[in-house]
Symmetry: C2
Subunit: 318 residues, 2 copies
């Protein structure tokens, strides 16, 4: 008997993660071109932008133009990110084009919460209570708890599974109080601390505690272990991953300014296909989009696969 999933869901976040961190400027037309090309590869979930302050994230000053500009492909779920009421309102203006849903976003490391948000964990819980009520008051469903720094933290060191469990419990309490039903838990290795045994331990504990919740892993390849971590998770039956084409993105946190971004979409797709697991994605098409992303940002992206090409291309030629 195997825990291997039949299908793995690739949640592409390249546009959102990538363009927020690139020094750019990246032309809006190029962002649109990338989003439209991604949709042609078979990906059915694409996070297209952040509705954030252009003062803080100048790379997303053109979020509205980008969302207005791309032609939506039927069957693809387009999402966006926001952190406050202003951002939510900007997203709601695109309710016809974007799938709008809320998230209770917490961090397993109080050290990170303080440095990143300048809040204590308690203050962050209060902010999330408010944000959950805000979402529900706009009839925006809140079904997801996100836990950042779930595997370790630059500011606090190792994070125990107990801290992760307790953070999820805090999120579930906020949801219950607000009358929101949580179906999804997302665990993020925000600063690249995960390794396979740690993945297995944390996932094991979360899953045995809440077997009915769907789990998404958000992995960063900060230290080169992201694919090994994904492999360990897939073997445990985890079937949802946030990824970025070409490995777009990076890590803005302490001491890691030049570090790699998220796990590369195409490397995860390759791994799945070689394991006999479907993704619905045309790998060779996705590799081409990775090369397009590299041309758009104008520097080498971390993906090894976009430089080497897929195995199937060689199999066909052999």
């Amino acid at each position: 008997m195997s825990d291997l999933p039949k299908r793995v869901h690739i949640q592409e976040e390249g546009p959102r993660e990538g363009f927020q961190i690139e020094p750019g400027p990246i032309a809006t037309a190029d962002k649109i071109r990338l989003i439209e090309a991604l949709a042609e590869t078979g990906l059915d979930h694409i996070q297209v932008c952040s509705f954030v302050s252009p003062k803080i994230v100048p790379g997303w000053a053109d979020a509205e133009d980008t969302v207005s500009g791309f032609k939506a492909k039927p069957g693809v779920r387009y999402t966006a990110l926001w952190f406050n009421e202003s951002g939510l309102n900007r997203a709601l203006a695109f309710r016809d084009k974007l799938a709008i849903s809320g998230s209770i976003s917490l961090t397993a490391s109080e050290g990170f919460t303080k440095k990143n948000l300048n809040r204590t964990h308690e203050e962050n819980l209060a902010a999330m209570r408010k944000q959950t009520a805000l979402h529900l008051s706009h009839s925006v469903p809140v079904r997801r708890i996100g836990v950042m720094a779930a595997f370790g933290c630059n500011y606090q060191g190792d994070i125990s599974p107990t801290q992760v469990i307790s953070t999820i419990e805090d999120g579930l309490a906020i949801a219950a109080e607000a009358g929101a039903e949580i179906t999804d838990i997302s665990l993020a290795d925000t600063m690249g601390w995960a390794m396979p045994a740690r993945i297995e331990r944390v996932l094991g504990e979360v899953r045995s505690r809440w077997p009915e919740k769907r789990i998404t892993l958000h992995l960063h390849d900060t230290r080169g272990l992201a694919v090994a971590n994904a492999h360990a998770a897939i073997k445990m039956g985890i079937d949802r991953f946030d990824t970025t084409v070409g490995g777009l993105g990076g890590c803005p946190f302490a001491g890691q300014k030049g570090a790699a971004g998220n796990i590369c979409s195409e490397e995860l797709v390759l791994l799945c296909h070689e394991m006999g697991i479907e993704t619905g994605v045309d790998l060779d098409a996705l590799i081409e989009v990775g090369r397009m992303a590299e041309a758009i940002v104008g520097h080498q992206l971390p993906s090894e696969l976009i430089h080497a090409g897929s195995l199937d291309a060689f199999r066909k030629a052999a």
Copy 2:
């Protein structure tokens, strides 16, 4: 019960693999500086150069000067590579400084043998018979069989475990005929076709056939799966890996000119240490040498870890 090894042996090949492929020119003094810095990290096996034709590999025209130039550290085994009598004679001139031993080098893919060496498998066996005799006539021990393209081939596609077994049998026959006792088998993923399940299958078959032989894995990170492959192998008890600091090197084979090189030494060391496995290597020191290697070659190396820094550095600061 666990198959995990207590200690993993890192066989550093950065200088040899890296400087043969860099467009350079790299100053001999820089090569020497890198070799000496590697020896200070706790690595006890460093492959320092190739004795090959300077017409074919101009990057190693200064092999003699490099080997003469570096100060050997007691306890470190320095090795070199050669492919013919001329190369062997050049290596033998450094018998006091280099550990000289021979290898029966075969390829599991006849397609690769033809393209890379312009020989049939039979012709390659004849060449290896001659080379084994040559080594023994110089009192150079031949204890190792190397199998290239053991997990797949750009020119032939997938390679079955049966082909790998049969290639090793060919090597053992050559050794037996020459009176050489083989203690080591090295399996190389020359063009980056391996993935974890394939690693497990091939290693499982080789090990159950020859349980007394030591196995080395030579992994390339051509498609980003090298660390996942190493992890799968370590979990099966494999404890010897060829690696390159910073991911120096590359892949000169069909369609992969811009592809990544070997698995990064420091990423494998990180993985081992996080698994509680010793390597004898000071990871932070090795990361510094990776940064030195990047400065020497003058372009970004594939290692993510040298850009992000180790976890222990953050643990200490937290």
